[in-house]
Symmetry: C2
Subunit: 285 residues, 2 copies
Amino acid sequence: MALELLSTTKCFEGEQRVYKHHSNTLGCDMTFGVYLPPAVIEDKTQCPVLYFLSGLTCTHENFVQKSGFQETAAKHGLIVVNPDTSPRGVELPGQDDAYDFGSGAGFYVDATEEPWSKHYKMYSYVTQELADVVNANFSTLPGKQGIFGHSMGGHGALICALKNPGLYQSVSAFAPIANPSECPWGKKAFTGYLGADTSSWEQWDATYLASKYVGPPQELFIDQGSADNFLVVKQLLPEKLLAAAAPNDHIQTIFKQRDGYDHSYFYISTFVAEHIAYHAKLLKA
Amino acid sequence: MALELLSTTKCFEGEQRVYKHHSNTLGCDMTFGVYLPPAVIEDKTQCPVLYFLSGLTCTHENFVQKSGFQETAAKHGLIVVNPDTSPRGVELPGQDDAYDFGSGAGFYVDATEEPWSKHYKMYSYVTQELADVVNANFSTLPGKQGIFGHSMGGHGALICALKNPGLYQSVSAFAPIANPSECPWGKKAFTGYLGADTSSWEQWDATYLASKYVGPPQELFIDQGSADNFLVVKQLLPEKLLAAAAPNDHIQTIFKQRDGYDHSYFYISTFVAEHIAYHAKLLKA
């Protein structure tokens, strides 16, 4: 679990760092961002950790550079970790043929289909190996972790939480791909990673998982811009998730529609402070 | 002065736009960013305009995407305009040979040397043509404009203000190239754009201009990270500017050193809210 520090930059009195490490789960080297708030830098305070999962085509860089999350993470004393979106450098045939499958598009599932199943295990990477690495190397507060994400990463945050009752104390998503089994992006990805048998997709679909979830009460904060072009073309389908969750007493949803906002980082930057405050409230309760 | 709208994106209840137009001064098409705060979008309120000049290698995109300035501009009701850093598409020989001269490195001077003098007039573009375009197309408050910038753009902001007493009511700079005649970046750029006769450089050097400035009292807010690697290798030389300005009763300097901060956008993002609040206070006085 040796970490290689690629960069560290002071930001809002804390430090934005980028690390590289070898992932045994993925069978390749991976980079990830870690923001350490001033409470960690100055006093080695144990702080909750909040994971952010990015969307299609992203690396760890996009959220770090464009969202402006560091200001609010500093204020609330959260460690924020954001991984890459797929295995890298594994050289599978076809991995770079499309923006929405393969490199940059791991969809946070554990692939079962060849050749992807050897490396594309982003679900296990995020929920287990990366968390172990983070907890072993940074002053995280035990048992206090949240997860959020954007688009494909919003889907990832939802399934990581719904498949692991009680593992994350706070969950939110910006414009998630909420019902991948029923949208073009999800159908393509799940066919490739999980196979053509759609029954195998259910366990990786937030809408199905929300309907079946049993466990400690889980609140899901879903955020969606009304002018999001991917909402219009039915790639996101938040209404399916909300409808599936409604009858389930174990799930509580908060849905905020943002009038006139699109799918971009300008949208994320506008509301990231609200999300981080939401996570902080639950993680520091 | 026809403007072509390339994009508009809602951000902090205002709109981040990107425009293209033909610049007669530069003899080419140019893009620039404009953030319109909610007061402009909702009520067509006349607002002060604040120009941001970017550093080496940047386009209009860097500041727009990485600084997070929009939150504070929205709060204070400032229109923020940020141009590109050089003429584009003019195809001068050697323009793309180096990161610190030619494309992306106009240094906000009016070149006198061939072949640059035909196009490289970023000083006149920023202080005159772009301002005319902005005032003709957006609800700017007449006579209320400020200017700031980063590195090469901090130098640009300082000379635009010092060469035009009273034109800008507020001026600040992040890690400016404060004495270009005496640093490697500046010597290379000034030799290329202005010629080998260093006496012609004085009128484009903020340190010289600050020593000679006569006009309405001008305050200069200079910001500098202590861990800035370009400070260490003497590309920035803020101490020269401060020393030159000190005896000049027409200039007041505010110097803030930021312990441990570097030259990056993580540094800018940490302090941009303070700068915008500073400009707003002066522009709304």
